[in-house]
């Protein structure tokens, strides 16, 4: 691997990321699966970085899942998106930050489509007016939430209490980065680092002291694939897809997977459990799995946030070995305690995955 070659490509794919005043829209899936990640994102942006970030309870889904499952037409999804843009304009923002990669891709697709076909944009404007009596303005900047963290990665590193380093050996942690497919594969110029060698997460890992693992199937989808997962008859494809990735990364012995998409941490996490329980195969050390975290969770860890506040107990793959490696102090007794010390109940132990 020739690092200089990659740097050259990274330098060619840089995008402009605004400094402040963000309009934030959440992800349907992440709110349910990893709600603490979005909370952490807001905490870091507001508290650690001191930025103005606004969100409104009136925004809805972008329609992406339905769109990619072929259940609603493109014009419908564009009108939904137009409404989000209208909300942004209404609150006086022009820097649109979305938490979801599917949304990010869809927003990019919509804006590019409008650019190519202005008559379609006019039609959607009309649709929005007819349906909601709203007018929209296109965002000045459209970024993904990970772009924002990427922009301030060094700022975060400066405030960090620890690095992505194994405290026992002093070696940097080996980190697999997994980028959501719709981040830059459709429009390479819209993602930091482009499509082939995306830099957005690599930049964070480098800034926070980790070592990047480049394995053959790094480009492969996490396995979500919408229809492959939603239809049970196809679910084997989703699983096999993820399995292929793990088989490919296994020789590199990664300590951690870092992701920037709602579905990816979910599938890279849960399918490890399914693979383990149905075939007996595990990919971490001593029967453990490889923790698959969101970039916010990783940022929170280096910033010294409490792992249970970061929601790490919501992962199927146990994070304790990782926390031990990083020297994070945690109280195992509090793992399954909710707000105000309420007992959330302990999940049943798995038979194969430790």
């Amino acid at each position: 691997m020739i690092y200089e070659g990659k740097r050259k490509i990274w330098s060619e794919y840089q995008k402009e990321i605004p400094d402040d005043h963000y309009f934030y829209v959440r992800s349907c899936i992440r709110q349910s699966f990893f709600p603490a990640s979005e909370a952490t994102f807001l905490r870091i942006t507001r508290e650690a970085l001191g930025k103005d970030i606004f969100e409104t309870e009136h925004h809805t889904t972008c329609g992406g899942i339905a769109y990619h499952s072929d259940t609603i037409p493109q014009e419908t999804v564009m009108t939904i998106i137009a409404r989000q843009f209208a909300l942004m304009a209404k609150y006086g923002y022009e820097n649109y930050v979305c938490s979801c990669i599917t949304s990010f891709g869809l927003y990019c697709e919509t804006l590019e489509t409008w650019r190519e076909f202005p008559e379609l944009e006019a039609k959607i404007r009309d649709n929005l007016w007819k349906s909601c009596k709203l007018e929209f303005a296109k965002p000045k900047f459209l970024i993904h939430a990970s772009d924002l963290i990427y922009k301030y990665r060094n700022n975060i590193a400066a405030q960090a209490v620890r690095k992505l380093v194994n405290v026992h050996t002093g070696e940097p942690l080996k980190v697999v980065e997994h980028i959501g497919c719709h981040y830059s594969k459709m429009f390479p110029s819209k993602g930091v680092g482009g499509a082939e060698y995306p830099y957005v997460l690599v930049g964070m890992i480098e800034a926070w002291g980790g070592e990047i693992v480049d394995y053959p199937e790094r480009r492969h989808c996490c396995g979500f694939g919408f229809r492959q997962y939603f239809i049970k008859g196809n679910r084997g494809y989703s699983l096999s897809n993820t399995h292929k990735k793990f088989e490919s990364m296994e020789p590199f012995k990664p300590d951690l997977i870092i992701t920037n998409c709602p579905g990816c941490p979910y599938f890279l996490d849960r399918w490890q459990y399914v693979i383990a329980e149905s075939t007996g195969k595990t990919y971490g050390q001593d029967g453990h799995g490889i923790p698959a975290l969101t970039y916010e969770e990783v940022a929170g860890l280096v910033m010294g946030y409490d792992p249970w506040d970061l929601g790490l107990q919501t992962h199927q793959v146990g994070v304790e070995p990782l926390l031990d490696k990083m020297g994070v102090e945690y109280d195992p007794a509090k793992k399954y305690l909710g707000k105000g010390g309420k007992d959330l109940g302990t999940p049943v132990a798995c038979s194969c995955l430790r």
């Binding site: 084997g236 494809y237 699983l239 399995h243 399914v274």
Partner: protein, 109 residues
């Protein structure tokens, strides 16, 4: 083991790393023509058995090169050795001997 109602799906992907070079060379020594096929499909088009069952010499040759000899054998099992393919092959491949040789080399052990 838990049954989730779904599981790993066997890959349909060709894996050239599984290619058995020794066996293929044994075949090529027996019938060197196997190397010169350019996948035009004439053989498949005229195949007598092909009218009745899915079979293709072109595909069988591909299957050998693509590390799927069992598929090749399955396909050639239908062959009646009528020789039409040898008449139409633009590269003059000795198709009947090739078919016999493939069957001989790959069905042994």
């Amino acid at each position: 083991m838990v049954d989730f109602g779904f599981g790993l799906v066997p890959s349909s992907r060709i894996n050239l790393d599984l290619f058995d070079k020794e066996k293929y060379e044994e075949l090529a020594a027996m019938e060197p023509d196997v190397r010169v096929c350019m996948a035009c499909g004439s053989c498949t088009a005229v195949c007598t058995a092909g009218r009745l069952v899915q079979t293709s010499l072109r595909e069988a040759i591909e299957d050998l090169k693509n590390a799927r000899p069992e598929k090749a054998l399955e396909m050639l099992g239908a062959c009646q050795l009528c020789g039409k393919c040898s008449m139409v092959c633009p590269r003059g491949i000795n198709t009947r001997h090739l078919i016999l040789s493939i069957t001989k080399v790959y069905s042994a052990g």
